[in-house]
């Protein structure tokens, strides 16, 4: 479904990520793990068209989307929830969801799915995003992305700033979406949590993929255990 090959990107000629290749198959949940500054955010932002690409290619459903602007990529069915969320502070929950479907009219069935998944959003339809808690904002960011009825949802550190219980809930919600047929790609620093909910993973270190395998394999790998699971 998503095929990233020899991908490099960065800012002003300094490539933060170099020659990264990975793939996501339909129906899978794939994680990219790595410490702070490993290049996860740059990688995702470049794939999704928010930041420029230096070289390499990104194919989505056999279509070359390398360097395509984000607003076009979204319409192809690739939803992106960035770590900074990029919500609209003075707009209501309902307006976010309506915009999520832009340029189409919001589909009532999809909105029901979002409110079933996140009942908190349903209770706060008229509340402005700027006045919501971090957890609620994260729900809204996911809900907004879902409104475009994506086939692949890319999430950059969905648990940033969330209490452990909320982080757990966030992954449970993603699990529900997966059962409904959504393909997931997640970048995560909270490695144990991501491992429990994904099929495969890649380890990003200093901008290059250093390890890859099923989540179970990675969980058993001594290098991953010392570096990311805090096991000595």
């Amino acid at each position: 479904m998503l095929e990233v090959t020899g991908f490099s990107a960065g800012y002003q000629g300094n490539d933060v990520i170099r020659d990264v290749s990975f793939s996501v198959n339909e129906g899978e949940a794939v994680m990219i793990i790595g410490s702070n500054g490993a290049g996860k955010t740059t990688l995702f932002r470049s794939i999704c068209g928010l930041s420029p690409t230096s070289s390499g290619s990104v194919r989505f459903n056999n279509l070359d989307i390398t360097g395509m602007p984000a607003q076009r990529i979204v319409r192809l069915g690739l939803g992106f929830v960035p770590a900074e969320r990029h919500l609209f502070p003075r707009m209501t929950v309902h307006e976010h969801l309506a915009l999520g479907a832009y340029p189409q009219r919001p589909d009532p069935a999809t909105m029901t799915i979002v409110f079933d998944l996140f009942p908190r959003l349903g209770e706060r339809r008229r509340q402005h995003a700027g006045t919501m808690s971090g957890g609620e904002q994260q729900m809204l960011a996911v809900g907004r992305a879902l409104m475009s009825q994506p086939r692949l949802l890319v999430l950059d550190e969905p648990t940033t700033g969330l209490a452990p219980k909320l982080a757990q809930e966030a992954y449970q919600a993603l699990q529900v979406l997966r059962r409904q047929g959504l393909t997931l790609l997640v970048a995560e620093q909270q490695v144990p949590l991501a491992m429990a909910y994904t099929d495969r993973g890649y380890v990003l270190e200093n901008g290059v993929v250093s390890l890859e395998g099923t989540s179970a394999e990675l969980a058993a790998d001594p290098r991953v255990r010392t570096a990311y699971l805090g096991v000595t």
Binding site: Q71, V74, H86, L87, F88, M91, L99, Y102, P103, G130
Partner: protein, 262 residues
């Protein structure tokens, strides 16, 4: 009105208004009846917005954040001087006056000039339409999303560049409405550009940059302050009082009346 939106400021706003007024004036000189002439003026305003978007705002929108604001200020200020200079050189003493016939009308015992009434009615209508556009239409929401967070807008499939273009076109159209309604009350002369810009700037900053209800509130409050000051103290001092009122507001609420704290 649509002024501090899209992360850029347009210091040639008043000049857009004046140029639209001059088009109305020349059309009427050429024998065009008032109503079509005004229509032509509004069209000119919108067209000027489009021209600005296609020319000096191109490099502006390529930048982000502070660099965008600064470049927009620099380029539009330059344009404002050029336009002002050109107009005062070629047609120094012209001014547009739209006479609305008939005597004053009594409203609740207060005699009101027909021109003022019509100007107020048009302004209120324009505001209502603008408000409805922003709140209830999908396109209006898309424009607001760009004002709120450009990257967020792109993530929902909105092309910021097209929305910013729409903002400038609407801004030009509204500048023309400002010119026309003002001409119903006092003559719009070629030198009025900067005064219109300054008032728009004060309203925007006091209301909160990028806040539509804030701009409305600030416009009404400052309008009242201005007219009270003008009738009790004099027109010359009223601008100073206006600026003082704006200054006090900014001191008390740095992000504007309804602005969002960064």
């Amino acid at each position: 009105m649509i002024y501090g939106l899209g992360g850029a400021l347009n210091l040639a706003y008043g000049q857009m208004a004046v140029m639209s007024a001059m088009v109305v004036l020349f059309a009427m000189d050429a024998g065009v009846p008032a109503l079509p002439a005004v229509g032509l003026g509004l069209l000119t305003g919108a067209l000027l917005g489009l021209v600005l978007d296609l020319t000096i705002f191109r490099p502006v929108y390529r930048r982000q954040g502070e660099a965008r604001v600064l470049l927009s200020l620099l380029l539009t200020l330059g344009l404002a001087f050029v336009v002002d200079g050109f107009l005062t050189w070629r047609i120094p003493f012209r001014g547009l006056t739209l006479n609305i016939g008939g005597g004053p009308i009594d409203i609740l015992g207060v005699p009101m000039r027909r021109g003022s009434l019509l100007a107020s009615a048009i302004t209120i209508l324009a505001f209502a339409l603008l408000f409805a556009f922003f709140r209830t239409t999908a396109l209006g929401r898309a424009v607001r999303s760009v004002i709120e967070d450009e990257q967020g807008a792109r993530l929902v499939g909105v092309d910021p560049r097209r929305m910013l273009r729409l903002i400038l076109i609407m801004s030009g159209f509204l500048a023309a409405i400002v010119a026309v309604t003002r001409a119903m009350v006092t003559p719009v002369t070629v030198t009025l550009g900067f005064e219109i810009t300054v008032f728009a700037l004060i309203v925007t900053v006091v209301g909160g940059l990028g806040s539509f209800p804030g701009a409305l509130l600030a416009g009404v409050i400052l309008g009242i302050v201005n007219s009270i000051a003008a009738s009790y103290i004099g027109t010359f001092l009223s601008l100073i009082i206006l600026l003082a009122a704006a200054g006090i507001t900014i001191l008390l609420r740095p992000s504007g009346l309804l602005g969002v704290r960064e």
